[in-house]
């Protein structure tokens, strides 16, 4: 493999990896607030892409993306209020099945609204064949958009969780729900907020990746599996580790294309997931001490 090709694969890996990382952070936000794995996380990404494509007919691109993010956040909040908020200490099995049901409903809804056709947003800058060179590597400007957007989201979330009062309240709620409640934090609202937040970043990721990966009604499911793989790889609940794990998985996947047929690419990331689950369920960066206290 020539050095140029190596860097080409590397950048492809980082691009996909940062998308996986965003999906994984979406999982983590909800998991931290509620202990639920939201199986509908991939559908938020799909909705973000689809809604922005529809809105683009009426407004310029930046507004369409902003609109899609806001609408998807609304959908996230609605889902939490309708299906999860009022349950009294539900079992894990029950929550898994409910979020799986929600993901099916969202997918079928998308199928009936947008049909089976594959859509995409236009490239934010230039078009499919616009490239710029980084040394000897040729990249599409959209790759930079994806990486920048993901970096901004991660940075923004960091500031939000550490610097703002609401962010701190959400972290308190994640650390100990009862204690947070006793301190006067409305934990139920925090859970709704976590659904909104994770729907919002999912939708934004869906928008920036749409020109490269295209959007279809059922594109959420495989993203969800990969996002979950990354979340586990980094240690569930640990968002910074998810970024590292996401880029690692993206790069592994990109290089695997040179070894195995493309059709098996999904199977590879799932095989990694299974392997990690069996060998090190607390993740590459998680501590096994803390994991023993959690419910695997």
């Amino acid at each position: 493999m020539s050095l140029d090709l190596f860097f080409q694969y590397l950048f492809a890996g980082i691009t996909y990896g940062s998308i996986y990382a965003i999906v994984a952070i979406g999982f983590n936000i909800i998991y931290n607030a509620t202990g639920i794995i939201n199986f509908a996380q991939g559908e938020f990404v799909m909705l973000g892409g689809m809604i922005s494509i529809s809105l683009l007919q009426f407004m310029p691109l930046p507004l369409a993306i902003a609109g899609a993010v806001v609408i998807t956040m609304g959908i996230g909040a609605l889902i939490e209020i309708l299906f999860i908020r009022w349950l009294e200490s539900p079992s894990v099995l029950r929550l898994i099945i409910i979020t799986i049901g929600i993901s099916i409903l969202l997918r079928e809804l998308a199928l009936h609204v947008w049909g089976e056709s594959i859509r995409s947003l236009p490239y934010f800058y230039g078009n499919e064949i616009t490239t710029f060179s980084l040394g000897s590597v040729h990249l599409s400007p959209q790759v930079m958009w994806v990486i920048t957007a993901c970096a901004v989201m991660v940075g923004g979330l960091n500031v939000f969780f550490k610097g703002t009062p609401i962010g701190r309240e959400m972290r308190a709620c994640a650390a100990n729900r009862t204690a947070a409640m006793l301190c006067g934090i409305n934990t139920r609202n925090m859970v709704t907020l976590s659904f909104m937040l994770s729907a919002g970043i999912g939708a934004l990721a869906g928008c920036v990746m749409s020109p490269i990966t295209y959007t279809q009604y059922d594109s959420g499911a495989s993203l969800a599996i990969k996002g979950f793989t990354v979340a586990i790889l980094g240690g569930l609940g640990n968002s910074m580790a998810a970024v590292a794990a996401g880029i690692l998985l993206g790069i592994l996947e990109a290089f695997s294309v040179s070894v195995v047929p493309l059709a098996f690419q999904d199977a590879i990331s799932i095989a990694i997931l299974l392997l990690i689950l069996f060998v090190k369920p607390h993740g590459l960066f998680g501590s096994s001490e803390a994991a023993r206290l959690k419910d695997f």
């Binding site: 299906f83 894990v92 898994i96 098996f264 689950l277 069996f278």
Partner: protein, 360 residues
């Protein structure tokens, strides 16, 4: 208890006969085709019901086991093995009289595995895979178990979709019938196939298999093993403390439910004359989970009735293009309002609660 069980089984047999007579009287025998298919799907569902309800382990990968059974049976009975004629596995099969020779369209030798042998290989393979997968997977709990089984199902789906041997996106068609018993005297042969003349035979065969499967599971649940399983569902720690080898029991039920799914896959593939990759899709697995949930996890009869009933309606196309959406809705609403299953609802109490709740 035992008497009640026998009565219920007898009622089920009677119901199967009544459905047949009803279609005879109304001239709607075409319903029997879907009733046959629903019975085979029912077999998958009760197997999964035993795993989810009694052992308390979720599996979102059971369509994978169904597909392993179906695809292996289909490929072994249709793909020509003539080039491998001299290799030792085929010689072995030949010595056991388990090969079938014929001629393909151009008159060359067509060598395939006989359905009985193919069925045996398919079910054994599914059981072995369940065993190998089950040992690490069943150590996981909750979300992790759900995702791991989902991952297993997806891998099977991807492999089927990417392998030319399994027909890629087209699947395998023109699967021959499965002659269970050759014609004896005045009795016709018993063949699992979609031939219109054999519709009634196949209907009774499918329901026979389903009823036997139910009976076996009921006996299992009523036995010492069953009590151990139920203790697993309520509290694994307590079960372990009481000296129950929980991991062994979980594994046994997992393998058993995989075998049920594989048998259903083999028989349904012969009945339909083919199988496609959609049978292995995640949506199918989710549907099985939905049907188990609707019937009530720890209620085998509920699972059986709801599973067969809803599958029949779905196969008849009652839900139209909203088929998957309907199952999604069912999943959510059952889990929200009746986590113990539809049949567990005390409707009167339920409405009382709503109205009283609204007043207070």
């Amino acid at each position: 208890m035992k008497r009640r069980k026998n009565l219920a089984i007898a009622a089920l047999c009677l119901a199967a006969v009544c459905v047949h007579l009803l279609t005879l009287l109304t001239g709607t025998q075409f319903y029997l085709t879907q009733a046959t298919m629903a019975a085979y799907y029912g077999l998958v569902i009760i197997g999964l019901g035993a795993l989810m309800g009694y052992a308390g382990q979720i599996s979102i990968g059971h369509a994978g086991f169904f597909a392993i059974g179906g695809y292996l049976a289909a490929s072994l009975t249709t793909r020509n093995l003539a080039v491998f004629q001299e290799t030792w596995p085929l010689r072995g099969l030949d010595a056991l009289n388990m090969l079938k020779t014929g001629q393909d369209l151009s008159g060359d030798l067509l060598l395939t595995v006989s359905p009985w042998a193919a069925c045996g290989i398919a079910v054994t393979t599914a059981a072995l895979i369940a065993l190998v997968i089950g040992i690490p997977v069943l150590k996981l709990k909750g979300h992790y178990l759900a995702m791991a089984t989902l991952g297993f199902g997806t891998i099977i789906y991807r492999i089927l979709l990417a392998s030319p041997y399994f027909g890629e996106a087209d699947g395998i068609s023109e699967v021959p019938g499965f002659t269970l018993l050759p014609a004896m005297g005045t009795l016709g042969p018993i063949v699992v196939s979609g031939d219109a003349g054999l519709r009634v035979v196949n209907y009774y065969l499918a329901w026979g298999v389903l009823i036997v499967g139910t009976l076996l599971l009921l006996n299992l649940i009523g036995s010492r093993v069953g009590r151990a399983l139920r203790s697993l569902h309520s509290s694994e720690e307590a079960a372990e403390a009481a000296g129950i080898d929980t991991s062994r029991f979980k594994l046994q039920v997992f393998v058993l439910s995989a075998v049920y799914a594989a048998i259903a896959g083999v028989l349904l593939t012969h009945f339909n004359g083919g199988i496609g990759p959609s049978e292995a899709s995640v949506m199918k697995s989710v549907r099985y989970v939905a049907l188990v949930a609707v019937g009530g996890m720890t209620n085998l009869w509920g699972t059986l009735l709801m599973g067969v009933g809803l599958t029949f309606l779905s196969l008849r196309g009652v839900f139209g293009t909203y088929d998957d959406a309907v199952f999604g809705m069912i999943l959510i609403f059952v889990m929200l309002f009746a986590p113990e299953g539809i049949l567990s609802l005390r409707l009167k109490l339920f409405f009382q609660k709503i109205f009283l709740g609204a007043r207070s």
